[in-house]
Amino acid sequence: MSAAPDLADRDSWFHRNQQTIAPWLFLAPGILFFAVYVIIPIFQSFNLSLYEWDGLGAAEYVGVRNYEDLYWEWVDRDAFYTSLKNNLIWLLMYLLAIPAGLFIALFLNQTVRGIRLYKSLFFFPFVISQVVVGLVFTWFYDPTFGLLNVLLGAVGVPPINVLGNENLVTFGIIFAGLWPQTAYCMILYLTGLNAVDPEQIEAGRLDGARGVRMLWHIILPQLRPATFIAFVVTIIGALRSFDLISIMTQGGPFGSSRVLAFYMFEVALSEYGFRMGYGAAIAVVLFMIMMGFITYFLWSMYREERGY
């Protein structure tokens, strides 16, 4: 491109309004893609949740019956509330990744030889896919040869079939999920710790702050941005949990490890049937729960933006 066209249409309508039009031209392809694949499907799912549809034939309008079925559990006994309860457990337990990540970050925030490699290797679990994490932990829990039971056996505890026990299974899966999530939080905090103001630490030391008090009053306030991001990714990750459940238990035993994300998939797109409308209703419930958090995140970001 030469500079000539630029000068030639200096007075054209396009040139005069360039700064108004340009952003829309730059946005057009991105917005188009995003609208077609993300924004519009959200509304379509809302609409679909009012229908009964097997994915092939004609859809039949049923009003809010899908939601009634969920609320009273008329279709699948003990599925919806079990999923909801497990989602809550996921949410609460998954947050442990944040203090655990901070703890490891504090442990690794040193300058000894080879520490960079250690940091990378601790980060490792986050990079591998959840499918592999799921497989690895399924074998870890295996009642006949799993490492867990070998260790328990060494201290005289009889073997436990974690993934076969209705009361333990969700915790077992969450523990597997915490592994990569902790690594993620760790790296956030390591970066945050790098940027902590050394003068404030020195000032704190002079004032006699040490250890936990120093951490609480001087370090953590400066790590706020890292903590915020850790909260966002951990909460979203907890509510999105699907891969691990699908790989490790398929929702079992007896549906006791289902969460909404998995239950929805099971209902709409597995061998148990193609109840698309009913699945959409579950998705809407999950969406509303997540929207509560998303709104809060956006609100925080908005206040931050205005602060500039």
């Binding site: 694949y37 993300v38 040869f145 970066t191 941005p225 890292a226």
Partner: protein, 282 residues
């Protein structure tokens, strides 16, 4: 620095720390090390219940050879590459433009469009599942890599826009203003002034998206089936069905499936961490 540098502490503390580091690491990676050990054991060890003992022979070459020569694994790996690479290019290209538009121009809808991208990036996949599957079926792209790529590009644009926009906001705005005073057109400002400065962001985002897409499982299951189009995350389940109870082969397969993002991470570590933690510090 916090906590107090170990170099400033007693000799005993230093030795304890140095000893604890490898121990903690082994403990942390134990589940993975176990799989690595399994993957070099011969089948006989599993029938004789020698799960955790020393391998009776090292069959790593044979096991990994089988994964590559007697299964669909190479096919799945190739599919993963053919899905991941176009997605990275597409999503980064789109978000360079959206990020530029939202980072540089002041117009009323700016923040709303930005929030639309951010919010969309956080929604549960399930709310998109049925309509996106229908759309893909309607386009005749069900069970094709293209169908998966198109969706991934669209969805990743949300996160990428967030990332790019914040990066561009941090660039010196005077550069753009100076170019405008010179009469440079907006497109050329984008191409010649801003894009060269975005290189680190593009690198960081590329490795990040590579990992995200390579590790995707949900959409692979929803939009594809069968070896001709499934990526390795979905393929590994069929692989495991083929080698049911052959733990040495399943372990080797898992390691092969997990390796590419790991390699990517180690090669591009600096960019990867820069990408992941953008915004974690001010």
């Amino acid at each position: 620095m916090f906590p107090t540098p170990i170099a400033k502490q007693s000799r005993g503390a230093q030795i304890t720390y140095q000893a604890m580091l490898p121990l903690a690491l082994i403990l942390w990676l134990a589940p993975l090390l176990a799989v690595a050990l399994f993957s070099v054991k011969p089948a006989a060890d599993f029938t004789t219940a020698n799960y955790w003992g020393w391998p009776s022979s090292f069959d790593g070459v044979a096991n990994y050879g089988k994964v590559f020569l007697q299964s669909d694994m190479p096919r799945y790996l190739l599919n993963s590459v053919l899905i991941t690479v176009p997605t990275v290019i597409g999503a980064v290209a789109l978000s360079c433009m959206t990020g530029f538009a939202l980072g540089v121009y002041r117009f009323r809808a700016n923040l709303w469009i930005f929030f639309m991208f951010v919010a969309g990036n956080f929604v549960p996949f399930q709310i998109l599942m049925v309509p996106v599957r229908d759309l893909t079926l309607g386009l005749g792209l069900y069970n094709t890599k293209t169908g998966l790529v198109l969706f991934h590009i669209a969805f990743q644009t949300g996160f990428c826009t967030l990332f790019m926009r914040n990066f561009i906001r941090a660039l010196p705005f005077e550069l753009i203003e100076a170019a405008r005073v010179e009469g440079v057109s907006e497109w050329r400002i984008f191409w010649f002034v801003v894009l060269p400065l975005m290189r680190p962001a593009i690198a960081a985002l590329s490795v990040l998206i590579f990992t995200f897409i390579w590790n995707d499982y949900f959409w692979a299951v929803v939009l594809t089936q069968g070896a001709e189009s499934q990526p390795v995350t979905a393929g590994i389940t069929s692989f495991n069905a083929q080698f049911r109870a052959a733990y040495h082969l399943m372990s080797a397969g898992s390691i092969v499936a997990a390796l590419p993002p790991v390699a990517m991470f180690f090669l591009m570590q600096k960019h990867f961490i820069a990408g992941l933690t953008l915004g974690a510090v001010k």
